[in-house]
Symmetry: C3
Subunit: 356 residues, 3 copies
């Protein structure tokens, strides 16, 4: 890497052979989140969860003020990792063990670092899979977010010798006993369900219940570009039509995080009191999304859990599925063969927290 740096001052990104298990990458640049970021996030997705929407509502519960939307935190941390981890990525393969560990408020500064925890060359020898555990910290050094992500990354040189494969063992789902650290103890008696938009508490949801979120949003180029830049995510496929026009899709690709945020905002209609994402157990971008696509979403309750020592909140494990250019009223997911149905673009497995 030193050699390349003397040839050029631009960042060529890391290739598969630049990673080693145990390596820690500190990502540039730290980012102060402000109420301006929150406003733009609202304009881009339209979230309505009362805790994040109203300082007064959050304050009555025991927050000092409205916390920043969990996914805004996630995207900002994720964005920092792109120049080091996925500039030469072919595909973003998955997420696991993602936990939100401390609340983030406007004025907090986020920084990110990633540890390489797995490597496996592909059989074609032109690329390999890289697993990283990324940690987002605030200005006090507290961990606010941690997640594992794996990506397929090009090799610079197919002939380069690959390291012995290391494939990390990842939890099938985050242990619910560890959830809730990003939520202070809440006075749920002060939670006004009418103001929050729906009467449903944690106990009102049953395993197996499916909820069509009904509403939908059509995405525009300006919207996903502004969102992705807000996260300082520099992946070229989202921004450069001149280059993309020559590629497989002939157009710019929407950053997958935009679809996650849209689906989450749509999920308010049916999950209005699931105000906090405590964890992402797993997630997959099933198919690409482009400007002009209309995104719908539905959810299925997979599991419920108590939070040890907490009587204020309960956890709901939910699958959040986004589809495009078709209604989600029939809960599209997989066909008889087990393949994702046409139109499914996102399959996310979340732990959500709701008042009890």
């Amino acid at each position: 890497m030193t050699e390349r740096k003397t040839n050029t001052k631009t960042n060529p990104g890391n290739f598969f052979e630049d990673f080693a298990v145990g390596q820690v990458l500190e990502h540039a640049a730290p980012r102060t989140i402000t109420s301006g970021d929150v406003a733009l996030y609202t304009g881009l997705y339209g979230p309505r969860f009362a805790v994040q929407s109203s300082d007064a509502f959050a304050g009555r519960l025991g927050y000092p003020r409205s916390p920043v939307d969990d996914l805004l935190v996630f995207h900002v941390v994720f964005g920092k990792t792109v120049p080091d981890i996925s500039l030469n990525a072919i595909a973003n393969l998955g997420y696991a063990e993602c936990r939100f560990l401390a609340p983030v408020y406007p004025g907090d500064t986020l920084s990110a670092a990633s540890e390489v925890i797995g490597l496996r060359e592909n059989s074609n020898r032109t690329s390999g899979v890289v697993w990283v555990r990324t940690t987002g910290r605030n200005q006090h050094g507290e961990t606010v977010l941690q997640y594992v992500r794996w990506v397929m990354v090009r090799k610079r040189d197919a002939a380069a010798k690959a390291p012995d494969p290391v494939v990390p063992k990842l939890a099938e789902r985050v242990d619910p006993a560890t959830l809730g650290k990003a939520v202070p103890p809440l006075d749920v008696s002060a939670y006004d369900f009418k103001l929050a938009g729906a009467p449903h508490r944690w106990g009102d949801y049953a395993v197996g219940e499916k909820i069509d979120h009904v509403d939908a949003m059509t995405l525009e180029e300006a919207e996903h570009q502004v969102a992705t830049r807000l996260y300082q995510n520099t992946a070229k496929v989202h921004f450069n039509l001149h280059e993309q026009a020559q590629g497989q899709f002939k157009r710019r690709l929407v950053y997958g995080g935009v679809v996650i945020s849209l689906a989450r905002a749509l999920s308010f209609n049916g999950l209005a009191n699931a105000f906090h994402i405590a964890a992402v157990n797993g997630g997959r971008h099933v198919a690409p999304c482009f400007a002009g696509d209309t995104v719908y979403a539905w959810s299925e309750v997979l599991e419920t859990a108590d939070l040890p020592g907490r009587s204020d909140l309960g956890a709901l494990r939910a699958r959040l599925v986004a589809v495009k250019n078709r209604s989600s009223a029939d809960f599209p997911l997989r066909n008889a063969k087990g393949d994702y149905e046409e139109g499914v673009i996102l399959d996310l497995d979340l732990w959500l927290l709701l008042p009890r």
Copy 2:
């Protein structure tokens, strides 16, 4: 309604037969307005009124800081009413008796409630008109905004029995003696007309005077969608191309409030010192607006009025007309038959306050 709620956790909206005169609906979710919202509002419409643009300018007059643009307050309050009032609306028919009653500053939290004040089934029995009086309050419970709106709402069941018609008597215009409560007493000697952009005081405008605002803005899908989400307004017609493509217009409809804000921002050129909308006497969205349309605006002075006990400000009643895809230089409004001319999209009747 209880029955439907056990079948689904999503909000189907209220139908005509769900409303009763006297009923009060508290709307979700409260919303803290920040300087981020103000910045995005500026980016979406480009307002230049000095009082709202500069804390220093506002401070010299007697404001603690710049107040939030009146229409941003209006749209946020309006947005909250959509899921309860107009999710099943066919048309937004009109506004009346809208008054701004207290200033709103960044950091204030707005909530909204509506009382049903009128109901009348249409002769075709498939829909009816619902009149509501909506009140926007800040975190201290003070009323910052109140207005009447009436909408045509679908019936769930055409056979359902309709209540006896109640049609509220609405004021033709807000009594000017009640205006100005949202403006603290101002030291107009500190109002710098050069910095504000024009020399014209209240007394420089004459009844009958027409002003072409000259400038124009072409609307984009991303702009009206971001604006409408910023207000947490969830009306589907603004967002879902997949569904709208099957409908009457084949495209997404621009939220009428976007047109109001654009026309207001354009009106700076000619009404630069009319820094506050004290009331909306009436308003009508004459025709729909779509992305790609170019909006022009003109105003006519209808009336002038003193504010009892105030020597700082005077009130100007003005008609604000927006047209699309044609110049407003010839003040288009109605043809010889009394119908709105082709291209007219908005006809608004405002009380504006200016320094004397």
Copy 3:
């Protein structure tokens, strides 16, 4: 001008014969910059310079908090001048002697005034060139920015007598001994190059070095319109498709400042530690830019300079070139005849400051 003002209350802008050397124009309206503006600026261009991105990073160096991006300051000040200087402009010809003289922080209020320093009628007598020196001040009256700009402005009446030509003598480049006033004394030992995204200090750059910034951005109508309105810049050519469709380009023109900001944000990849633009020695919008164009950028180091009395920072004079719809990897600039190559849209001459 008095006569016109009694005929209409709208601003017709100044024509060539309305300007006189020595005349000072105070521009409307002052503007408070907030963290909301900063967030929207980030969303529009995606800058990543650590000093502006992180309050914590800036604070460790000696700033009270992150300063506002220099170009956001420039565009806001520039925007104020448009109604008085360039509403009737045919072309924005150039910039010179632009210096940033004090840091701007969220909460500061900017106002602008311009002095006419040169006038020369064109030989066709239908227009002339106007030179102005514009000063941007904060709420304390401190100058934060000063620059010279010259524009070609229409005459109202070709027959009108022109004043004797006055062509100001402008510096070929800002004297580096005067740079750096907008940066407090910094503790460079606290500058974390890893967090900032690259190891290159001032001394690592050599005169003649060319850097391709690699990344690129495709511009959308909604993006440049939102940006230009954020600056309260009212030039019609950016907003009115209905009128522009009849003109030379058949479309809206992108405000040149948008291209400057994009090129600057792209330059992070190669100039990550050039966190401050201290001066603009000169600049030219070589060709127009439209929505749908993809902007690339490259830089060339022209000169290096010490800052007298400062051991924390050094100055780098760099040419920043933006091109559209072609890669910048071959550093396109001028052809053998000395004309700008096809695709070059911006040629800017900057003084940048970097840690030593």
